[in-house]
Amino acid sequence: MKRIGVFLCWCGSNIAATVDIEETMAAARKMPGVVYVDHNKYTCSEIGQAMIREAIAAHRLDRVVIGSCSPRMHENTFRKTVEAAGLNPFYLEIANIREQCSWVHKDKLTATEKAISLIRTAVAKAARSEPLFSTEMSIERRALVIGGGIAGIQAALDIADAGFEVDLVEKEPSIGGRMAQLDKTFPTLDCSACILTPKMVDVAQHGNINLITYSEVEKVEGFVGNFTVTIRNRARSVDMEKCTGCGDCYAKCPSKVDSEFEMGLAKRRAIYTPFPQAVPNKPAIDRANCRYFTSGKCKVCQKVCPAGAIDYEQQDQLVEKKYGAIVVATGFDTHKLDNYGEYAYGKHPDVITSLEFERLVNASGPTGGKILRPSNGQPPKNVAFIQCVGSRDKAKGNPYCAKICCMYTAKHAILLSEKVPGANAFVFYIDVRTPGKDYEEFYNRAYEECGATYIRGNVSKVFPDGDKLVVRSVDALSGALVELVVDMVVLATSVDARADARELAQKLSITTNAYNFFNEAHPKLRPVETQTAGVFLAGACQGPKDIPDTVAQASAAAVKVVSLLNKESLLSNPTVAEVDIKLCSGDMSCLAVCPYGAIAEKFIEERHGREIRKRRVAEVNTALCQGCGACTVACRPGAINLKGFTNEQILAEVDAICL
């Protein structure tokens, strides 16, 4: 039989005015297992806590029930109290007789009756409580950042500045990401390269950052504080140690292919750096397009390389490293326009996407920053900008708003007016959305000062007429049909999740929404965490985002990483699920409902007569389990139980209430 002590708190008059303490004490004395009952004016005070500690010693109590305020208020206080007296902190149960009794009831008779019932319930639960322990887990004081765009760069720099080692993995030969492709940035129109490249250089030079380009995450194992990640270093065919980045190789390479960085508006070589300010500024060989790799002949780059850095024999390498925390910053893809034949994209060279336009405006772009029509190299006089291409379109595109297009289209209209004096911008929109500091003013500037004409109507068709393009729409506000003859059409292409986002989510055991953007742990209160402890999100991989939001989220993720890595050790949550393998059928119903990937199957061996049989059972990773208990109900034989809220305890509570 347990030796249970019950302590009632007056909370001054907060409880005592409504609940008859004497009568409650008398009732408590008769409850099964109760050997000691006492009361105090303020149990949470030092005197009150001392009284509990002394009573535990004097009366050899092994379970403690306190009738007081909500456990959400003082559970931790009192757990420490009983722990100080030598008991397991989880031997404590609190009966909430203040918030859920004395404060909400007026009649002393019925309130006392209810208080007695609440105490009885807590006693019943306490009698079945087991000692629970947190396990201490070491932390690998190193972070992994996946993705070297502005989000990954910012997160890596912030973590590194706090004194922790960071590995930054980027799948392209250079970091920089989408932001490196942009010309100017809204709403200030400062040049993207001017603010980004110094940060890229900082990354390269930071003593705490280890830059791993041309590489991808292959496999993730482990849990918060102790991830083991396998990284695939793709064969670059260039020895990074020897290469000086002189550029002789790509000047001489005979194989030309469309440059991804230039959105196909210019060519690059098979051995290449994506752009002149690349970090690291050392090329990689794109083997799919390299003459040597496709035909076995060429080796021009090897011949011209003064450093002897070209190595055709390099192989992909798998490197396994340990990390305490992971930041995912893999960015976005632009929407494919296959479903939008009506805009003549791909059929007419002067219909381009917004990112292509970005390259046209860029001083280091294919036209040297001159806006010229791809068809004839002449500056355009009239340009139509079509918004929401692939956005807000549940029929053929993304039903969501891509968030950044209204602002960058306003930017494009402004840049057009600056770069091509006298040119006219026509912006076709459904709604213009500009929430953000100085954003509305920026949009105002586009039509007030820079002469852009905004037309409220989605474009229905674009078709060539001679060397011009005809854009057909309607101005919904006036009801006037619109038919514009323009020189260029710019499509504000929607933002998609990365094509491989779901694959990466599976590796990290995080979840995605219906459109493959990674899910945050809570949409409002935990915006940079995921449900997997130790994995954090930054930037557009979590949802469409502009640069200011991306940088803010990256820094926020960095703070989360730093505060995690700063800890001496991690204490696991002791109220976790636990499998009784005797009962477990191994059907893994529990695994299906676990939001944290905390349950895995394992095989145990059992003796049956002379033979040894293998049997599947569930196993809980206590580092990942957060203790929700969804698994306990999914498990039909009740083989998985939740410590601190066991089936036995809850059934006993039900029985005690209904007594």
Binding site: K394, G457, N458
Partner: protein, 134 residues
């Protein structure tokens, strides 16, 4: 043309949605339908306006518009609509709703003489019920 609470609260949109099976309220007035309509030159009320009028309960304006009879149901609009509204179906529903309203309710299957039922073409019967029965 005037929008009033009575008109907005009228059952028009509900009725049109029920008959057409289309969600008229989904339209956010991007007007892509109108921009691509091949017979819009002959219309007095444009397709996106038809949807807007329906949303606002402007029954008279819809009733008197030529558009309902000009729409060729070519489906160009519906193939491009980002909100998955099949506009020709909405327009057909408007025709039905308005025709029914005009037609009154004096046909009942039980009251038709057997002779008519036997001899009248089926399509004629269906059409008559459309117009003169509720």
């Amino acid at each position: 043309m005037k929008v009033t609470t009575d008109k907005i609260n009228s059952n028009l949109i509900k009725e049109v949605e029920e008959v057409s099976g289309q969600k008229v309220s989904a339209c956010f007035q991007c007007a892509k339908c109108t921009g691509g309509c091949p017979v819009v030159w002959a219309m007095d009320v444009y397709p996106h306006q038809i949807l807007r009028y329906a949303q606002l309960g402007l029954a008279d304006e819809l009733l008197n518009s030529k558009t309902l009879w000009i729409c060729a149901s070519c489906q160009t609009c519906d193939s491009r609509c980002p909100r998955e509204v099949d506009i020709p179906k909405v327009i057909e529903a408007l025709r039905l709703v308005l025709l029914r309203a005009r037609g009154g309710n004096y046909l009942h299957p039980n009251n038709l003489p057997a002779r008519v039922l036997e001899n009248a073409p089926q399509q004629g019967l269906v059409s008559a019920f459309r117009k003169y029965a509720r």
